[in-house]
């Protein structure tokens, strides 16, 4: 029993390595201590056998996590690896973490020809807020998906309604994303909720594109005036304008395929650019020294 508890602690401890804050600190200080500490605590006996560099160690623990503890990080990272890079391609897609919609925050959203929102439900998550979350996503996204563990497919098939369902399955040594149910496409879009998910320059740009002019008010009245105008845009047009506007967001989606496959989600959340990435990659390529 106690070894099981210890194993859970160890998994949590591994999962905590993959945090944007830790890697941002690493770039600032070159200090690899947050990784070294884990090696000393759990894996010193494998040093030189299963891994010798920091990046090899990250691969080693990422593989353990995919087998034994699929935390949210693994899901997000596999959405990037499997869905984005293998299925959609990055050339014309923008992916964003933690996108606010109504009273919820979508774990991950993507914009290419269509807008998609993803809600991750790992074995560790509760389904308590699920209905509200999916209802929120459907107010502005054309497609919404639940992404869950292969063992929870039946449960979420009952709960997903118009939303799609994707299972993350173990195939040999790697994970695969399998679409269990396709999402129904939402034709309507709630412009009031959309206004609140957009940045100021984005809603202004949508209004300017559609009406060729901005309302004649100062910036304190701009939000309400734009909200008023946005209600008049036909739904199919507004969907398109929303997607093309979000594709302009500053994003490093295009570079992700060149990054370590275990670290893509960290790199996305930090919006790491190729220059910082080469610094990061250099630091991690060093031989572990304890």
């Amino acid at each position: 029993m106690s070894s099981q508890i210890n194993n859970k602690d160890r998994m949590r401890s591994y999962a905590s390595i993959f945090s944007g804050a830790s890697f941002a600190q690493l770039l600032k200080t070159d200090d690899l201590d947050f990784i070294t500490r884990k090696i000393v605590r759990y894996d010193q006996h494998n040093l030189g056998k299963k891994f010798t560099t920091y990046s090899e160690y990250l691969t080693y623990i990422y593989n353990i996590l995919t087998r034994e503890y699929r935390c949210e990080y693994v899901y997000k990272n596999e959405i990037i690896n499997e869905l984005l890079l293998k299925n959609y391609g990055t050339h014309n897609t923008v992916v964003i973490n933690e996108f606010k919609v109504g009273n919820s925050v979508a774990d991950m959203v993507m914009f290419n020809g269509i807008s998609k929102a993803f809600e991750i439900k790992t074995e560790l998550d509760s389904d308590k807020r699920l209905n509200g979350q999916l209802a929120d996503y459907r107010t502005i996204f054309k497609e919404s998906y639940i992404v869950t563990h292969e063992s929870l497919v039946d449960k979420y098939l009952n709960l997903c309604g118009k939303s799609g369902l994707i299972a993350i399955e173990k195939h040999g040594r790697s994970l695969k994303m399998v679409e269990i149910q396709k999402a129904q496409i939402e034709e309507e879009i709630n412009s009031d909720i959309l206004m609140r998910s957009l940045r100021t320059n984005e809603y202004k740009s949508i209004i300017l594109t559609y009406f060729d002019t901005l309302p004649n008010v100062n910036s304190f009245g701009m939000f309400n005036a734009c909200a008023e105008l946005m209600r008049q845009i036909p739904h199919n047009e507004l969907h398109k304008l929303f997607i093309s506007e979000l594709k302009k967001r500053d994003s490093n989606t295009d570079f992700l395929k060149n990054y370590y496959k275990e670290l893509r989600q960290v790199c996305l959340s930090m919006r790491i650019n190729p220059k910082d990435y080469s610094e990061l990659s250099y630091l991690l390529s060093q031989t572990i020294s304890i």
């Binding site: 600032k28 206004m195 609140r196 100062n218 910036s219 304190f220 939000f223 309400n224």
Partner: protein
């Protein structure tokens, strides 16, 4: 003299820069700057401005917050080309066990004068601390007002004593300020010298003494501004009305700024910071949360400086 304790972040430094340019003559403000950012650009520009305007300041060499903890050598080498003797003094945060290290550093660096900022964990009877305090170079000592015996002792050995208070009453959410539209802020500016016998007083201006890096877009926007009410400094929290979510920050600024401007028109008080706020409002322009923080700090520095200069004037006229 007023010793505002400010962290060396972008908008705090901008407030200092602008204040120094506007109030170069007759400046009664001696900022204490705790460097916290590993990028030295803004602090360099601020220090140059302070120098140009002959505004003296203290620079903390052993910061306890931010990126530069333990990096005394980095601080001194990165700022070496802007730190000019006579314009600044080194300051040290004294804790339970670092008196000896500070003593050695002051000697090694051959500093002519230094400031000590004693935090509450200092045992004022400890031998190492007494030796540090006894150095001729230690000219200014900042400490919490509660330690009376320490204050008497300092007076005996002829140090400039400066009381440090944590004045700004932080609420958890900006919307919490709605229920406290105004509150008493401080009165030290009127009493620190004549009644309390201090050479100066210090506080964290209208900011929290906690170090906070970054933040989220708030649901409610609050502008904190101080003003004089009889022989006291009060603070008002001007809060937006539409606070149900974090969208339309511009509209929220319009609501809060209108309240602030109406209030200061009513009491007929203004200064550079309040005029700047009026310009943003009249131009229908939202300046950003950082600029609002700058305006709050700058307005407070202006207010305290004007009270101190007019009291100094009265004393000369007597």
């Amino acid at each position: 003299m007023y010793y505002p304790y400010l962290r060396g972040k972008q908008f705090e430094l901008l407030a200092l820069r602008e204040f120094a340019s506007d109030y170069a003559v007759n400046c009664q403000v001696f900022p204490i700057i705790e460097p916290v950012k590993s990028s030295f650009n803004s602090i360099k520009i601020a220090i140059k401005k302070l120098k140009e305007n002959n505004v003296s300041f203290a620079l903390i060499l052993n910061p306890k917050k931010g990126d530069l903890i333990g990096k005394v050598d980095t601080i001194l080498s990165d700022l070496n080309d802007v730190l000019v003797e006579g314009n600044w003094i080194p300051a040290y945060i004294v804790e339970a066990r670092n008196s000896k290290g500070i003593f050695d550093h002051i000697q090694d660096m051959k500093f002519q004068s230094a400031m000590l900022i004693c935090n509450e964990s200092v045992d004022t009877n400890q031998l190492e601390f007494k030796q540090l305090l006894g150095m001729n170079q230690v000219s200014k000592v900042v400490f919490a007002d509660s330690n009376r015996s320490f204050k008497r002792e300092l007076a005996k050995i002829g140090k400039e004593t400066i009381r440090l208070d944590d004045k700004f009453n932080v609420q958890k959410r900006n919307s919490d300020y709605i229920s406290i539209p105004e509150e008493m802020f401080s009165e030290e500016v009127f009493y620190y010298k004549t009644e309390d016998g201090f050479a100066g007083f210090s506080d964290y201006t209208v900011l929290s003494s906690e170090y906070i890096d970054g933040g989220m877009l708030p649901k409610a926007l609050a502008i904190h501004l101080t003003y004089q009410k009889h022989d006291e400094i009060w603070i008002r929290h001007f809060v937006s009305d539409t606070n149900d979510d974090n969208s339309d920050i511009q509209g929220k600024f319009g609501e809060a700024a209108k309240k602030a401007i109406d209030f200061f028109t009513e009491i007929s008080y203004s200064n550079q910071a309040i005029e700047e706020l009026k310009r943003y409002y009249n131009d229908g322009q939202y300046p950003g949360l950082g600029v609002l923080k700058k305006l709050s700090i700058k307005s407070h520095l202006e207010l305290i400086n004007s009270i101190l200069t007019s009291t100094a004037q009265q004393h000369e006229n007597l």
